[in-house]
Every structure is written in structure tokens, then in C-alpha cells.
């Protein structure tokens, strides 16, 4: 690593109303360096990067970026165009993709002069093809974004940034939705690109990859930079300490005898419009006091399974029983009434209504209950006090219960959903990627709540691409591949990894 600076953030500050998101943060980045930016949910990591990229105008501070010859020049603040021209590429935490476009068009967007009379699609296709080959991130270029899984969309986002030939690449939780293998491949390739002079800042909650792939670690807490450390001097405990200021407790897992079945699928087939939205004659039983983990590479039928259990898809053949009772009409309210609680995969899109308040989001699934509504009128007082209690119990932090839910950080949105789901005491909990994007503390909290529900007698269907999470929480592990389920009679990472890739164990 050479020691030339390519970027320096000087005393950047930003506040939103009463929330101080960043408080005089200064960070430097060198050529060829990989810097990991860590911090709890809501610590202000995304805000800092959004100022760098020009999405937010800082309240104070300045940014200098090295130009091609290495001289530091001040960056025009508040203009993404200026950041792009300075060679900064950004992969946002939340997708910035238009669903009606194809993959190729999404990558092309903004890369050509708006006055050109036609696209250079052929050349673009070749260039994207080369990047895909180099990075191992492949997606069908002619697919429509709206039809892609979350994991595939993330790949498109990364390809987009690489396509623009960035010299400084900012990745805001790029691997939150990638499988461990995909994440490893990505970082290995980024490592190779840093040899050619690329500098990288990435945000992640996965300490494993932070320790394996970064050179230096900067930690934010409550908007302040609280520490910087060379990765070679760090380990998980040290980092956790810096982030939280204390150790995170892990919940012990007690052995439990499974009870009566709460979910049974009997040769159930769902014919989706593509392979990844289909299930082929699957059998699955989940009992009370049991967590069943579904491991698999994204796009192998997980979404079909989740849609089926949440009542969004109707099986083409076969049966689905909840607590022994067959379901005939597949709608979300029917499923919810039957005792299914769902933690959706895309929490921003399917989990909350962003333009409604935190308090309203907390009661949205039980509008019939008398403490929420009387004679068709909302009971504001009880809704608000109910929200206050739940936010305290589940530690939902943010601008308050009357603020719009979209203003919460990712971790706090997930806590809001947990509070809403667990409060109804469901018999079956569908937890789809429940800790995606959550910090260690919040992830531990989700695990604790799931184990608590299991102890109470609920069954949990845990769908996750994070194999470590599946291994840590599940009583049984089932591998999903190509729309089929195979029970893994082992706890061995390697063996399960092979099954996920489609090889029979």
C-alpha cells in the first residue's frame, strides 16, 4: 500500500431536526486502501457517505478528493454529479434501481450524454460482460429489474458502480444481501482491483468480512468518530467494544422437544413465472418449539416459499396446513388469522408504510381490535400509549412514535416489525432474512426474540442466506435448491455449502 492520500473528509457535520447524525467527523483514505466503516444501526454511517456523494449537503465541514494526477482538490458539496466526476462511485444501502428498466439499461443510466441520439448498447454489453467475468457477479442483462431477487438487485448495483470506472468506491452494506460465497468472491475481486489503485470504503455489520478484507477500521458511535484501528490489531471483541462500548450478550440455546406440527406442506407445488419463484412438490413440517432454517443461494425458490406462507401465492397443487387446519383461500389476512406472523425480506418495501407514523405502523395488522378502533374511529390515545410501550420493550430508537416510519434506521425498522409480529403471539413465525443489515446488538436481539418465541411454543420458519445464522439458530436445517427442499442431516458448513450449490450430499 502506498501512502498517498486520495480522500479526506474534514469535520463533516449533519443534523436532522433534533438528531445529530454526524458530529465533526474526519476520515482519510489512501490509494489502494480498503477502509471499513463500522457502527451500530443509526450511528450515522450512511449519512456520512451520502454527504460524500452529494446527496446531503453537510451543515459544516469540507471534502477533498485527489484528481487523476494526485493533487487534492476541494469537492463541490451537495452535487452527486460532482462526486461522480471526481471518480467517486457509490453503492447505496437501499436500492436505487427503477423496476421498469432492464439490467443493462439500469447500468447504462447516466453513463452517456443525454444528447446522444442512440445508446451504445453493444459496447456497453461487452464492457459489463468483462466486469462480470472479472468480479464473478453475474446477472442476466436483459432481465427486468422488477423481476429480480434482492440479491440479484444488489449485484446490479455493484456492477453499476464498477461500470462507471470509479477510483474511490463506496459500498454501503454491499454484502447484506449476498451469500457468504458471493461476498467472498466480491471482496477478493475488490482486493485485486485495489492493486490497480482503487480505494474502497465499505460499511458492513459482518465482522468476519471486515476482519478478512479491510486494512483499516473506523468506528462511528452516535454520530461521532470514536476510534480508528489497523485491522491487523483488531479482533471481534475489540471492535464490538468500540462500537457499543460494551460486550454483546449471546442468548444460550436450550434443547427442546418439538411439539405438534404448526406448518405442514404436502407435495405443494407453486408455479411461478420463472425458476426462482417456483416450488416443486415440496414436503415440509415445522413443529411447535422448533426453528427450521432454510439455507440456500438466493433465487432458488425462497421467495416462493415465503410468498406461500404469507398468503401472497396460491399453490397450484398440494396442501398447506397451519396448526393442522388446511388453508383454502390464500390471502395475507387469512394466514395472519390462522396464526402466521411474518417478518418480510424487504422490510422497507413490504414491512412498513414509510409515510405513516411509527405508532400507526405498529397497529396496522390489527385494525379490528377494540383498543385500536371503536365504531370505525381510531383510538389515538391507546394507539400512542401502546406504541410508547412497545418501543420501550423492543428498544425502537428514532425521532419518536409520531415521526414517519421511513425516518428510522434499518435496524430500528426491523425492531418495529418484530414488536408488531411478536405482540400478536403467532403460532408460526416466518422470518425471512431477519437480521439482514442489522448491527451485532440488533441481530442478537432478533435471535433472542426468536428463541423466546420458540420457548413459548411457536414454530419458526427461518429463511436466511447467512449460513452462520442458520447454523446458530436452527433445530433442523433444510437446503433449498432449484425449488426443492432437502433435509441436511449435518451441521457441517462445507457439506451444506455443497448442497446449496446443488450437489447431493
Amino acid at each position: 500500500m502506498t501512502n498517498t492520500r486520495v480522500l479526506s473528509l474534514n469535520n463533516l457535520s449533519k443534523r436532522f431536526g433534533s438528531v445529530v447524525a454526524n458530529d465533526a467527523v474526519s476520515i482519510e483514505l489512501h490509494r489502494g486502501e480498503v477502509l471499513a466503516l463500522l457502527g451500530e444501526n443509526g450511528a450515522g454511517k450512511t449519512t456520512l457517505m451520502n454527504m460524500l456523494f452529494g446527496h446531503y449537503l453537510p451543515d459544516g465541514g469540507s471534502i477533498d478528493v485527489a484528481d487523476e494526477s494526485g493533487d487534492m482538490r476541494p469537492l463541490t458539496l451537495g452535487h452527486p454529479q460532482a462526486a461522480l466526476e471526481a471518480g467517486i462511485g457509490m453503492v447505496h444501502q437501499h436500492f436505487t434501481l427503477a423496476e421498469n428498466l432492464t439490467v443493462l439499461d439500469s447500468i447504462l443510466l447516466g453513463s452517456e450524454s443525454l444528447l446522444a441520439w442512440r445508446h451504445k448498447r453493444k459496447a456497453a454489453r461487452a464492457k459489463v460482460g468483462r466486469i462480470m467475468q472479472r468480479t464473478g457477479l453475474t446477472v442476466g442483462l436483459d432481465e427486468q429489474i422488477g423481476k429480480l431477487t434482492v440479491g440479484e438487485r444488489q449485484r446490479v448495483e455493484i456492477l453499476k458502480a464498477l461500470y462507471h470506472d470509479a477510483r474511490i468506491l463506496v459500498l454501503d452494506e454491499p454484502t447484506a444481501v449476498l451469500t457468504p460465497q458471493e461476498a467472498d468472491t466480491l471482496f477478493e475481486n475488490i482486493g485485486a482491483m485495489t492493486k490497480d489503485g482503487l480505494s474502497v470504503i465499505f460499511i458492513s455489520h459482518k465482522l468476519r468480512e471486515v476482519l478478512a478484507f479491510s486494512h483499516r477500521i473506523s468506528v462511528l458511535r452516535h454520530g461521532k468518530l470514536v476510534g480508528e484501528i489497523a485491522t491487523s490489531d483488531a479482533d471481534e471483541r475489540v471492535i464490538a467494544r468500540m462500537m457499543v462500548g460494551a460486550d454483546t450478550p449471546t442468548t444460550p440455546r436450550e434443547a427442546m422437544a418439538p411439539g405438534a406440527p404448526v406448518l405442514a406442506l404436502k407435495t405443494t407445488t407453486v408455479k411461478g413465472d420463472s425458476a426462482r419463484t417456483s416450488l416443486h412438490a415440496v414436503d415440509l413440517t415445522i413443529h411447535a418449539h422448533e426453528i427450521v432454517g432454510i439455507a440456500g443461494v438466493s433465487g432458488n425458490g425462497q421467495s416462493a416459499l415465503a410468498r406461500l406462507v404469507s398468503g401472497l401465492a396460491t399453490p397450484d397443487s398440494g396442501e398447506l396446513l397451519i396448526s393442522g387446519k388446511p388453508i383454502h383461500r390464500f390471502t395475507p389476512p387469512v394466514m395472519q388469522k390462522a396464526g402466521v406472523g411474518r417478518i418480510p425480506e424487504d422490510r422497507h418495501h413490504d414491512g412498513i408504510i414509510g409515510a405513516m407514523s411509527v405508532a400507526e405502523n405498529l397497529v396496522i395488522e390489527r385494525l379490528r381490535d377494540s383498543d385500536v378502533q371503536k365504531y370505525g374511529f381510531l383510538q389515538q390515545n391507546s394507539i400512542r400509549s401502546h406504541a410508547q410501550d412497545l418501543c420501550k420493550d423492543y428498544d425502537v430508537r428514532g425521532p419518536g412514535i409520531d415521526a414517519d416510519a421511513r425516518l428510522l434506521s434499518g435496524g430500528n425498522i426491523q425492531k418495529l416489525i418484530l414488536a408488531r409480529v411478536f405482540e400478536c403471539m403467532p403460532d408460526l413465525i416466518l422470518a425471512n432474512q431477519p437480521t439482514r443489515g442489522l448491527d451485532m446488538g440488533a441481530a442478537a436481539e432478533v435471535a433472542r426474540r426468536l428463541l423466546e418465541a420458540r420457548a413459548r411454543g411457536a414454530g419458526v420458519l427461518l429463511i436466511s442466506e447467512d449460513l452462520d445464522e442458520v447454523l446458530a439458530l436452527s433445530d433442523r436445517i433444510i437446503v433449498i435448491h432449484d425449488g426443492q427442499l432437502h433435509e441436511a442431516h449435518t451441521n457441517d458448513r462445507e457439506a451444506i455449502g455443497l448442497m446449496m450449490a446443488g450437489e447431493q450430499a
Partner: protein, 313 residues
């Protein structure tokens, strides 16, 4: 003459294309606005403004093509008002659009009345004449249907191809499609959400005004009150019918033109037994049915009607 004979007569198809022409301009204009995420209910008034401004310019001696330019500029101006109110200021697109319709209609009538205070029969201009292309115009059937239309009909057809090309084959069109579906995607690529939307609304409104100008500069030769007569609203419905595609928009406009031309001819056949209002109603009723069938599958631009503000979550 029976129904079949009407359907195969060249005069029927020529009329259908003629009636469709203003709708083609209007529906393309509305389509461009909506593709960028902005509903433009100012269309009805912009039609009136285009009809009045184009005609007045020609009457004052600007020439036919000069008149079209003036109409487009006036349409663009009213589009700009709508765009500023709804894009950076984020006001309700419905309210602003209806406001623009009332404003543009009244201003047109007002200007007309002030310029020509007491006329009983309005002055006439020499409108666009049917083209007379050697050989082609004399072909059987296609001659009268296609090659004896005015230049404006051809302009409308060229616009269909042009709008299709821009939307689907150019970086600008890509950006417009993206901004109508997810403004964040456009913002993240350093493009201006406001700039794209304002530009699309202004351009779309200019096209709408050309649709209005067709009425006074090609279909008729003078301006009178109420001459737009709901054509703008039909265009708003046709955009949905067309699922926001230029090719289908052309089809929808032609379909409506055909209904309308058909009812006129049918009226002369059986008008003795059936009240004429039924015939006048028919194209609208039929469009509603067509819309009901098609619109259920329509894929709306994801961000249509949703204001976007910079730097907000």
C-alpha cells in the same frame, strides 16, 4: 349502404385518421409527461391555448409553420407553470393540472375576445391543405386514406416514431423512463430529477398544443369557443389504454377516430329511428369499455403522482 361497405370505404378511413390526428399529438404529450412521473391534466386547456395561439399567429401573418411554432411555445409555457408547481414545489398534480386547464382556457378566450371584440362570423385563415403527392395520392384506397391528408397528420405520425425512438433508444429517454419509476435511481447517477421532469412536462405540453393547433389550422379554419370539446380528457384515458407505449397510443387514437367516423356515417343510415345523442355517445362508451379491458393490466410508471424532494429519505 350497409356496415361492411362503410368499413371498406376509403373516405371512412381517411376520416378516422383525420379525427385521430389531434388525439395522437395529445396522447403522445400526455405520455411523455406521465413517463416522467407527472400527470398533466392541463391538457384540455393547453389544447385550447394551442388552437387559439396557432390560429391567431397565422391570422397575424406568421405563416402556417410559424403558427405551429407559436402554438408549441404557448403550450410549453403552460406546461412550465404546471411543472414548477408540481415538480420542485411538489403540489398536487391533480389540482395544479385542473388549474392550468381553467387558466389556459380562459386566457385563450380572453385573448380572442380582446383581439376581436365584436365579430359575428370569426375571421378565417387558409389552413393546411391536403397534400397532393404525384402518383401516391392517386393510388386506390391508400391514396385518399394516407396521401391526401394534411402535413399535420404526417407530422403526428412522424412524432409517434420520434417519441418511440427517444424513449426507447436514447440515453435521454432512458433517464425519463427511470425518473418516472424511481427518481432516486436518477439522482444516484448524478442526473437532475427536477430538470428531467420539468423538461418532459414542457415538451409534452408543447405536443399537446400542436394537437389543439390542428383543430384551427387543419380541421377547421377559425377558432371558436368550446372547440376542444373533451379531446384532452380522451387523451388522458388513451394513455392508460396504450400502457404508456407510443405505438399503442397511435392504435388507441386511430380506434377512437374510427369509432367517431363510424358513428357519423351510421347516423345517416339509421338516424331516422335512433336519437343522434346515442351516436355521439358511442365513441366515448366504446373507449370506456376498451379501457376497462386493457387498463386492468396496465403497468403504471412507479412514481406517477409522487413528488420527490432532494435529500429526503
Amino acid at each position: 349502404m350497409d356496415i361492411l361497405q362503410i368499413l371498406i370505404s376509403d373516405s371512412f378511413w381517411a376520416a378516422a385518421l383525420r379525427i385521430a390526428t389531434p388525439l395522437i399529438f395529445g396522447v403522445l404529450g400526455a405520455l411523455i409527461c406521465e413517463k416522467s412521473g407527472v400527470l398533466n391534466l392541463g391538457i384540455e386547456g393547453i389544447f385550447a391555448a394551442g388552437a387559439m395561439a396557432g390560429w391567431m399567429a397565422v391570422w397575424l401573418g406568421a405563416g402556417l409553420w410559424g403558427g405551429l411554432l407559436v402554438a408549441a411555445l404557448v403550450g410549453g409555457f403552460f406546461g412550465l407553470i404546471h411543472a414548477i408547481l408540481t415538480v420542485p414545489l411538489g403540489l398536487s398534480q391533480h389540482v395544479s393540472g385542473l388549474g392550468v386547464t381553467m387558466l389556459a382556457t380562459s386566457v385563450s378566450y380572453f385573448t380572442y375576445r380582446t383581439a376581436l371584440p365584436q365579430v359575428s362570423s370569426p375571421p378565417k385563415i387558409v389552413p393546411f391543405q391536403p397534400l397532393d403527392i404525384p402518383v401516391l395520392s392517386d393510388l386506390p384506397f391508400v391514396g385518399p386514406v394516407l396521401f391526401q391528408q394534411t402535413a399535420m397528420t404526417w407530422l403526428a405520425l412522424v412524432m409517434v416514431a420520434l417519441v418511440w425512438w427517444v424513449l426507447n433508444r436514447t440515453p435521454l429517454g432512458l433517464a425519463i423512463r427511470a425518473v418516472g419509476d424511481n427518481p432516486d435511481a436518477v439522482d444516484a447517477q448524478g442526473l437532475s430529477v427536477y430538470g428531467l421532469r420539468i423538461g418532459a412536462v414542457v415538451a409534452g405540453s408543447a405536443l399537446m398544443a400542436l394537437g389543439g393547433a390542428f383543430l384551427t389550422m387543419s380541421a377547421f379554419d377559425s377558432f371558436f369557443f368550446g372547440m376542444v370539446n373533451g379531446r384532452g380528457w380522451i387523451c388522458i384515458a388513451l394513455v392508460i389504454f396504450a400502457s404508456w407505449r407510443p405505438g399503442k397510443a397511435l392504435l388507441g387514437a386511430l380506434l377512437f377516430g374510427a369509432f367517431d367516423a363510424f358513428q357519423v356515417r351510421l347516423q345517416t343510415e339509421v338516424g331516422a329511428f335512433v336519437p343522434s345523442q346515442i351516436f355521439l355517445m358511442a365513441p366515448y362508451v366504446l373507449s370506456i369499455f376498451a379501457l376497462v379491458i386493457v387498463a386492468r393490466r396496465a403497468e403504471y410508471p412507479g412514481a406517477l403522482l409522487k413528488p420527490w424532494f432532494k435529500g429526503q429519505r
